[in-house]
């Protein structure tokens, strides 16, 4: 707990909460532009929001995760503090504290975004409102892939002082994640940011003859959630070992 509060202390005056707020606002603005086209009280308005948001998140939250992870690691690289820190703190504890800090920031951002979506659906009076449990499940499905991306980027950000590498990786994951949404599930499973689509419970059907879009729900993909958790655990295990053996 002390290690986690130290990580937040390092972020003081770094405006990370402002970044969280900005990211949530950006995602909501994007989704709201789409929602504006839906009629007031539309029967599938919330479903369209819940379909659209993971697409937006595959771009924005993936890069946000990279920015947060890179920022957390940059503070120690910038101050050339790792050598001293690791004499006072176990590598595993420092590594876990940075991950936990990322998780808190990601959770706060996703919570803001989800609350905004619920407010938007309520404002538009959509007929298919989702309850608290549904919204919580939706938020968890956004937090999972974002946190996995943060774990992957943290491995690179701690390994190399030059943060260009970690941000370029974040960008590549964002690009690959977005494109993977248009690919078969087997391809999506290869990219952490592809799980935004895999874990979404709302799917779309486009009738090209009638030019009508319809949304439908599918059961929660427990298998994909378990696979993502396994990938995340493997990435954390490998990068924690990598970090503990890093020559300072």
């Amino acid at each position: 707990m002390r290690a986690l509060s130290l990580e937040f202390a390092k972020l003081r005056r770094k405006n990370v909460w402002l970044i969280c707020l900005g990211v949530a606002a950006l995602c909501l603005m994007w989704v709201a532009t789409d929602a504006a086209r839906a009629a007031q009280g539309a029967p599938d308005g919330t479903a369209s929001l819940l379909y659209m948001t993971p697409l937006v998140n595959a771009i924005v939250l993936t890069l946000f995760a990279a920015v947060v992870s890179s920022r957390l690691c940059e503070t120690d690289h910038e101050a050339q503090a790792l050598k001293e820190l690791l004499c006072l703190q176990r590598p595993g504890s420092l590594f876990a504290a940075k991950l936990a800090c990322s998780l808190v920031l990601i959770t706060a951002t996703v919570a803001l975004e989800t609350a905004g979506i619920a407010a938007l659906a309520s404002y538009k009076g959509f007929a298919d409102q989702v309850g608290i449990a549904g919204l919580a499940a939706f938020a968890a499905c956004q937090i999972g892939p974002t946190f996995t991306v943060a774990a992957v980027v943290q491995a690179v950000a701690l390994r190399w002082e030059n943060q260009f590498a970690s941000l370029a990786l974040g960008l590549s994951l964002s690009l690959a994640g977005l494109f993977s949404l248009f690919f078969p599930p087997a391809v999506q499973r290869l990219v952490p940011s592809g799980y935004f689509g895999l874990l979404s419970c709302v799917r779309m059907d486009w009738d090209s003859v009638a030019h009508v879009t319809s949304f439908y729900t599918v059961p929660f993909a427990w298998g994909d959630a378990a696979l993502l958790a396994a990938i995340c655990a493997a990435v954390i295990a490998v990068s924690a070992t990598w970090f503990s053996r890093k020559e300072l």
Partner: protein, 244 residues
Amino acid sequence: MRTQPLRAEVDKLRRAPIWIAYAVLPLIAATIGTFNYQQNLGVLTPGWENLWAQHTLFELCFFLPALVGAGCSWLMGLEHAGSNWNQVLASPVATWRVVVAKLVVGAGMLGVALAVTGALFVACGKAVGIAGLPSANYVVYLLLSWMGGVAVVAVQLLVSSLVRSFAAPVGVALGGAVMGLLLTAKGWGLWWPWALMQLASNSNGSGALSPAELASFVAASVLFSAAATAACAWVVSRAAAVSE
């Protein structure tokens, strides 16, 4: 002495081959875009136009501006370290020359990304069997995208000169790009530097810029580039106050 800042910037790049990212990003976009094009031949009209959209839509709308943001953070990063701003300002080189040198290098790296995008577009098109060669319009799209992209480089250099963090300007670039998409949809893209690349590239197939739009586009690109470079030089000239 006049070209010294430029030589210094090129020297910094020598052992930090960040240009590789500028080649890899278009490569990812081209690989996945071509695969997507092949998968959707039943829905798309086969041809250069649709392949261009698949290759460039997401790359130029979101990812290249963000990569430019990361590149500009890197270009400013060395000076932000320690008391390097004091050394730069104490050297017998005008600050605007330092900023222009960074702008030239940033524009050069953007040129690498766009050249790779163009080369991969032709190569992938031939690989999937599209007849003939793409029209010269695509060269114009790339040149205009580069011109609009220089404005993004200038603005991102300004952002990176104001913000010491490496990562935050990348977030600003992505935010700017997303806002650019929304503003372009409203018809206000010319007033937003991050929207210029997507406007020029015709990546969504909405049509090339008309002659009147072209004049406004060139004016906006030059204006944003000049204003941001001047502002950046002004910020840098006062950087000693914030240097540790």
